[in-house]
């Protein structure tokens, strides 16, 4: 056992994990040689496992990623079992995702549900993408590829027997979203007039949805992996739901997710038209820029609400964290300013 493995939280579960993997992979035995913690955000833990499979279809050395809940998981995201089902559905639709391998619902193995997926090479770190122009290959091509990937996600339409947890299909996604964010603000006890102004604008200008699809809900720079050649995987499926596909496009293009390159309107990496072209060609539909502008306002509202929720997680004593407190403190004012810029009085249509 390596020092990293011995010191990791997985050490005490080594034998049980090896037995589970051997059974799941139909191998004679599996040796867990090493583990490395990977960054996984505040909600999940990700571990890179060095495995040796003896016998079976996976025989030999293999690196996989184990994903499970962090100690302080929040209820808003999908469970790991649901995420596993989403990964399978996405892979079946042709989306570039890490191959989902095995799900373990037995708490006796690790003490919590986890799943194992193939390792994908690359990085998702936005600051690296912003700094290193060679990363991700040709950026316009990367944006076109991302547009096509998003269209594949949106090809998954209700009903889906394998995704029963996604629940009711919203009759009017935009209005349902406004209602949900108001409820979130009320639960937080947050009194923000700029956010209320933005929500009312979104209520008044809500576009009709051409057809509800699976929506990723966090499709942005930072949640896809690239290597030197281009895209390697779409990550972070924990917020998927049924919704208006245009909301994902608005989220990807929103100014708040362009990082150091606000002039590059497709996620801070490329021109918007490259992303749109990839999406339109794969989806066989035209994107209405006015509808995307609407969903970009909603994106800023959503991020502001999430930032306040993250701040509340620490202020409520649930999870002491300066990082969470700063998220709730730093982002909302900037987002409020963006929302107001996009919803000035001359951008309100006449009363209906």
């Amino acid at each position: 056992m390596t020092a990293t493995l011995a010191e990791s939280r997985l050490a005490q579960h080594k034998t049980a994990l090896e037995d589970f993997l051997a059974t799941a992979a139909e191998a004679d035995a599996v040796d867990l040689d090493d583990v490395v913690p990977l960054t996984g955000g505040a909600i999940q833990e990700n571990w890179l496992l060095d495995l040796r499979f003896h016998g079976g279809a996976h025989a030999g050395r293999r690196q996989v990623v184990l994903r499970t809940d962090a100690a302080s998981g929040v209820a808003v995201s999908r469970s790991r079992a649901e995420e596993f089902a989403l990964l399978k559905a996405a892979r079946a639709a042709g989306v570039s995702v890490p191959e989902p391998l095995w799900l373990c619902k037995d708490p006796a193995i690790l003490g919590k549900v986890f799943y194992v997926m193939a390792r994908v090479e690359g990085t998702a770190a936005p600051h690296k993408l912003m700094k290193d122009k060679e990363l991700g290959g040709d950026r316009e091509r990367l944006a076109t590829h991302l547009g096509a990937e998003l269209a594949k996600i949106h090809s998954i339409r209700p009903p889906q027997a394998a995704l029963p947890f996604l629940g009711e299909v919203p009759a009017h996604p935009a209005l349902a979203t406004v209602e949900r964010y108001r409820a979130h603000l009320d639960r937080l006890g947050a009194l923000s007039l700029p956010l209320e102004w933005g929500l009312r604008w979104c209520e008044r200008h809500a576009p009709d949805c051409a057809g509800v699809t699976l929506v990723h809900q966090d499709f942005r720079t930072g949640n896809y992996m690239v290597d030197r050649q281009g895209l390697t995987a779409i990550l972070d499926w924990e917020f998927c739901d049924w919704g208006d596909p245009m909301s994902d496009i608005g989220w990807f293009c929103a100014k708040c997710w362009r990082y150091a390159h606000p002039e590059l309107e497709a996620g801070g990496i490329a021109e918007r038209r490259s992303f749109y072209r990839g999406y339109e060609e794969a989806a066989g539909t035209r994107i209405d820029p006015q509808v995307i502008a609407y969903w970009e306002v909603m994106a800023h509202l959503r991020w502001a609400v999430i930032a306040l929720q993250q701040g509340e997680r620490t202020l409520s004593g649930e999870q002491p964290s300066l990082e969470l407190a700063l998220t709730g403190r730093i982002y909302p004012p900037q987002l409020e300013r963006e929302i107001l810029r996009a919803t000035a009085p001359d951008r309100w249509s006449a009363a209906r």
């Binding site: 209320e196 009312r200 004012p333 409020e336 300013r337 107001l340």
Partner: protein, 119 residues
Amino acid sequence: MKGGEANAAELLRLVEHELANEVLPQLSGDLRYRARLILNAVKIATAELQADRDLSTAIKDALGPLTASAIDAPDTSGKGAADQVQALQQMLRQGELDADPQLFEALVCIAEARCKLVP
């Protein structure tokens, strides 16, 4: 003359200086990231201590006339600022302030003032 005793705002300013110039350059990796978080928190706290009264006044000035007219009477009821904001929130939700230019200007002023407090 301050009698040699630093107040809270002055202490925070010195912490900010020490962190930025003496501590941060010595750090790398995760520790550097965490030190930057601390520095940002100190900057916000310093700015807020200095501007808190200004911001409260700005909000009151910006929203005061609106809340007075919105609730159809000046604030003589002893209602706090939060109650007045809540009244405006309800009016916004009910569509009574749609595209209201006066409210919009007030919100922009407040948003700008709030943005000045964050790094």
